[in-house]
C-alpha cells in the first residue's frame, strides 16, 4: 500500500466505517499490532488483516502510532511474559518444532516482546474493544463533524495530488 493510498483511506475512514463496533475493533486491532515489533511476518499479516476487514482504519492507525510511544513501558511487561513462555520447559518441544518448521521463524515468535505482546494483546483485546466502542459512540456524537470540517482534513483534501487520486479512485 502506497503512502497516498493510506492518507486517502485515512480521510475516507473519518466519515465511513464509523459504527461504534467498527471503531472499537479498529482500536483493538491497532492496539495488538502496536504492541508487536513491526519487522516480523506476524505484524505484517495483522496489518493485511486490518486493511482487509471492514473496520475503522484511521482509529487503528492512530492507535498503532500511539502505542509506539507507550511501547518502552509496555515492553517491560511483554518481555518477561514472553521470556517466561519461551523458556517454559513444558512448551519447549512446541517451540523447537515451530523453530524448525519452514516460514514460521519469519513470524518472530521466538522474540520475547512479540510472544509477550501477542498474549498481552489478545488478553486485553476485549476490554480495549469495549472501551473503543464507547469511544466510537462519543466520536460519532461529538468529534466526527468537527474532524471532517477541520482545517487539516480540508487542507489534505484540497491538495492537488490527493484531489486527483480521489477522482481517479472514485
Amino acid at each position: 500500500m502506497n503512502p497516498i493510498s493510506i492518507i486517502r483511506q485515512f480521510i475516507q475512514g473519518l466519515t465511513s466505517d464509523t459504527e461504534p463496533g467498527q471503531i472499537g475493533w479498529g482500536i483493538a486491532l491497532g492496539f495488538l499490532i502496536g504492541l508487536l515489533p513491526k519487522a516480523t511476518l506476524t505484524a505484517q499479516l495483522l496489518l493485511v488483516l486490518l486493511m482487509a476487514l471492514r473496520i475503522n482504519i484511521p482509529m487503528a492507525l492512530i492507535t498503532v502510532l500511539l502505542m509506539t510511544f507507550v511501547n518502552p513501558l509496555m515492553d517491560k511487561l511483554t518481555d518477561p511474559v514472553g521470556y517466561y513462555l519461551l523458556t517454559s520447559q513444558a512448551l519447549y518441544p512446541l517451540w523447537t518444532k515451530l523453530y524448525n518448521t519452514p516460514i514460521v521463524p519469519w513470524t518472530g515468535f521466538n522474540n520475547t516482546v512479540l510472544m509477550g505482546g501477542l498474549v498481552v494483546g489478545v488478553v486485553l483485546m476485549a476490554p480495549v474493544y469495549l472501551a473503543g466502542r464507547k469511544f466510537g459512540v462519543y466520536y460519532n456524537a461529538q468529534l466526527k463533524e468537527k474532524l471532517t470540517n477541520s482545517r487539516l482534513a480540508k487542507a489534505l483534501k484540497t491538495t492537488w495530488l490527493l484531489n486527483w487520486y480521489f477522482k481517479v479512485n472514485q
Binding site: P37, A39, M51, A52, L53, R54, N71, D75, T78, D79, G82, Y83, L86, T87, Y92, W95, T96, Y99, N100, P102, I103, P105, N110, N111, T112, V113, L114, G116
Partner: protein, 597 residues
C-alpha cells in the same frame, strides 16, 4: 470483506505467476550468460535454461565458454548441467542440491565464431607468471644471440643498479618497524600489571570471613593466574615465530642477488648458463600459462569456499526489542551446497578419452557443512589412463588440500620449447606421461610435477647464435634425442609462489656451453659474483647487525618477562595452596598449575 483491497492484490499474484511461468527462464538465461561472460572475460553461449518452481529444479544445456586468450577456442564446454533444489532450505534462502549432473565436459574445443568481447577488460597475469615468462625470453633474446668468444672484463657495478640492494634496503625498513612492534609486545609490564591486579584480589580474598565466598574467590584467582601464564606462553610463541619468520624475506634477497649476477654476466657478454636459467628459457613460457590457469582455479576455490564462513553465522541474542530465544536447529544448512555432482566428459580432441567421476561437498560455507570437497575423476582407453584426485578441506581455521593428477599415454603432436629468437626445440610425436602433486596448508603451497615424453623426435633450432662452434654444439646436444623430461617444483605461498624448473634438455645445453667456453664461463661467473657481493656488502652487514641485535633484545625482554610472570605467579599459587586445604574442609583438592615454559 473489503474487496477493493483484496482484488488488486489477487490480480498482482496472478501477474507474478505469469511472469515466472513465461518470462523467468529467458531472463535467467540472459543474466547467467552475462555473469559467466564477466567471469570468463569472453563470449558465452547457453542453448537452454529450464527451471521449475513446484519441484524446484534447474537445467542448463549446450553451454560453451570462450577463451579470453585464444579467440577461436573454448575454455570449456558442457552439454548439460541439471539439479534439483531441496524445497525446505529454500524457505531459509539456502540452496541445497543433493545430486547434480554435469555431462559432456570438454576443454579447449575449437569454436567457429570469435570469443572476443567488445569491451572486455584484458586480464593481467599475476607478477610471478609474467616474471616466469620474461626471465626465459629475456635471457634468450638479449644474451645468447650476441655471444662472442670471451667475456668483457671492464664492467662496472654500481649498487644503485642492483635489485638485491633495493630489497636489502626495503627489508631493513620493514624489519625496523616489525621488530619495534614485537619488542613492544615482549614487554613484561602488561603481564606484571595483570598479576598485580590478581595479587590485590588475592589480598582482598584472604581477608574474607565467609568460607564459601573465599573458596569461590580463590578458585577464580587461580583461574586468572593460569590465564595470565597461558597468555604469556602463547604470546611468547607468537613473538618468537614472527621473529623467525622475518628471516624468510632474505630468500627474496638471495634470489635477487642471483639475478643480479646473471645480469652482470650478461653485460660481460657471458650469460649465466646454469641449468636452472636454461630450463627457465626452454620450458618457462610453456609452463607459465598452465601454472596461471591452475593458480586461477585455486584462487577461485578459496574465494567461493572461504575458511571463515562460520563467523558469518554468529547470531545476536539481544534483539532491537526484547530478546530472541534460539532453539536447537535440526538441520543447519550452508548458503550453497552440492552434496554430490557427477561429472563426465572427454579429454583431448583428436582421440578423446572418456572420463567420469564425482565431486562431493561443493559449498560456500565449508565450516557449516563440516566435510571437505572431494573430487575423484578417472578414465582409461587404449593404453591411456587419467586419474585425478582432489581433497580441499576448508572446515578448519585454514585451508588444507591435496591435488593429484596422473595422465599417461597421451599422444604428443607438437610441443614447442624455448625461444625462436635464440634457441628452441620442437618436440614432435611420442607419448607423454604427466604426474603432478600439489599440497596446500593455509597460505603455503608445495608441489611438484613431471612431464615425460618418449618416442619423440626433437628438432633443435639455433639460427640466431652467431658463434659457429657454439651453434654446432647446441644443435648436436639436442639432435637425435627421443625422450624429453621436464619438471617443476612449486613452493612459497599462494600469493607469491616460487618455481624451480628442470629439463634434461637444459642439462644437455649446459654441457654444450661448457664444452665451448670451458673455464672462461666459471671465471666470468666468479668475477660477476665478486662484483655484486662487493657492492652488496655494506647493505648485507647492516641488515645482519640489525637482525642480530634486535633478536637478542627481544629474547632478553622475553626472558625477563618470563622470570617476572613465573615468579609472581608461583608466589600467588603457593599462597593459594597454603590457604586452600585448611580453609575449605571437604571441598576437594584444588589443582594448581605447574610453571614450565
Amino acid at each position: 470483506m473489503r474487496w477493493s483491497y483484496l482484488l488488486p492484490r489477487f490480480i498482482f499474484l496472478v501477474l507474478v505467476w505469469a511472469f515466472f511461468f513465461f518470462a523467468f527462464d529467458p531472463i535467467l538465461k540472459w543474466s547467467l550468460r552475462k555473469g559467466m561472460e564477466k567471469a570468463a572475460g569472453a563470449k558465452v553461449e547457453i542453448a537452454e535454461v529450464k527451471t521449475s518452481f513446484l519441484h524446484p529444479s534447474f537445467r542448463m544445456g549446450g553451454v560453451t565458454v570462450g577463451s579470453a586468450k585464444e579467440e577461436f577456442t573454448n575454455l570449456v564446454e558442457f552439454s548439460g548441467l541439471a539439479f534439483t533444489l531441496e524445497g525446505a532450505p529454500l524457505l531459509e534462502k539456502k540452496f541445497i542440491i543433493d545430486r547434480a549432473d554435469l555431462s559432456g565436459l570438454k576443454f579447449g574445443t575449437p569454436r567457429k565464431t570469435s570469443a572476443r568481447l567488445l569491451f572486455a577488460k584484458k586480464e593481467e597475469a599475476p607478477g610471478f607468471i609474467s616474471d616466469l615468462k620474461a626471465e626465459g625470453t629475456d635471457m634468450a633474446a638479449e644474451r645468447l644471440g650476441d655471444l662472442k668468444g670471451g667475456a668483457a672484463k671492464d664492467v662496472q657495478v654500481s649498487p644503485d643498479s642492483l635489485s638485491s640492494v633495493k630489497i636489502y634496503e626495503e627489508l631493513q625498513k620493514k624489519y625496523e618497524a616489525q621488530y619495534a612492534e614485537l619488542s613492544k609486545k615482549a614487554d613484561s609490564s602488561q603481564y606484571q600489571a595483570r598479576l598485580d591486579a590478581i595479587k590485590a584480589k588475592y589480598d582482598e580474598a584472604s581477608q574474607q570471613k565467609d568460607f564459601l565466598k573465599k573458596a569461590k574467590d580463590l578458585a577464580k584467582i587461580e583461574k586468572d593466574v593460569k590465564q595470565v601464564t597461558s597468555d604469556f606462553k602463547n604470546d611468547r610463541k607468537l613473538i618468537e615465530d614472527t621473529a623467525a619468520g622475518l628471516k624468510e624475506g632474505l630468500n627474496a634477497a638471495e634470489e635477487a642477488r642471483r639475478k643480479d649476477i646473471e645480469a652482470v654476466m650478461g653485460r660481460m657478454k657471458m650469460p649465466a648458463l646454469d641449468t636452472q636459467s636454461l630450463a627457465k628459457m626452454l620450458v618457462g613460457p610453456a609452463i607459465a600459462d598452465k601454472t596461471d590457469t591452475a593458480m586461477k582455479y585455486l584462487a577461485m576455490a578459496r574465494k567461493y569456499m572461504p575458511d571463515n564462513s562460520a563467523k558469518k553465522q554468529a547470531r545476536a541474542i539481544d534483539a532491537k526489542r526484547g530478546r530472541n530465544i534460539h532453539f536447537p536447529k535440526e538441520n543447519s544448512y550452508p548458503s550453497f551446497l552440492i552434496r554430490e555432482m557427477s561429472v563426465s566428459g572427454e579429454l583431448g580432441l583428436d582421440a578423446p578419452l572418456d572420463y567420469s567421476g564425482t565431486i562431493e561437498g561443493i559449498t560456500t560455507q565449508p565450516r557449516i557443512y563440516g566435510k571437505p570437497l572431494i573430487a575423484l575423476v578417472k578414465g582409461a582407453k587404449a593404453g591411456r589412463a587419467l586419474d585425478f584426485k582432489a581433497l580441499l578441506d576448508n572446515t578448519g581455521a585454514a585451508m588444507k588440500g591435496n591435488i593429484s593428477l596422473k595422465y599417461s599415454g597421451m599422444a604428443v603432436k607438437e610441443l614447442k620449447l624455448g625461444n625462436p629468437s635464440s634457441i628452441s626445440a620442437a618436440v614432435t610425436g611420442g607419448t607423454g606421461r604427466f604426474e603432478g602433486d600439489l599440497n596446500l596448508a593455509g597460505e603455503n603451497i608445495r608441489g611438484d610435477a613431471i612431464f615425460h615424453i618418449q618416442g619423440a623426435k626433437v628438432a633443435p633450432q639455433a639460427d640466431s647464435i652467431k658463434l659457429a662452434p657454439l651453434k654446432t654444439a647446441v644443435l648436436n646436444s639436442m639432435s637425435g634425442l627421443t625422450a624429453v623430461g621436464m619438471g617443476i617444483k612449486i613452493g612459497g605461498t599462494l600469493t607469491s609462489p616460487t618455481f624451480a624448473l628442470t629439463t634434461d634438455l637444459a642439462d644437455k645445453l649446459g654441457g654444450a656451453f661448457k664444452g665451448v667456453f670451458g673455464a672462461e664461463l666459471a671465471s666470468a661467473k666468479a668475477e660477476a659474483q665478486a662484483k655484486v657481493d662487493a657492492a652488496l656488502k655494506p647493505y648485507k652487514a647492516k641488515l645482519d647487525s640489525l637482525t642480530g641485535s634486535k633478536q637478542k633484545e627481544i629474547k632478553d625482554k622475553l626472558d625477563a618477562a618470563q622470570k617476572n610472570v613465573s615468579g609472581s605467579g608461583d608466589g600467588i599459587l603457593n599462597n593459594l595452596k597454603q590457604q586452600a586445604a585448611p580453609a575449605v574442609p571437604g571441598a576437594g583438592k584444588i589443582k594448581l598449575p605447574k610453571f614450565k615454559f
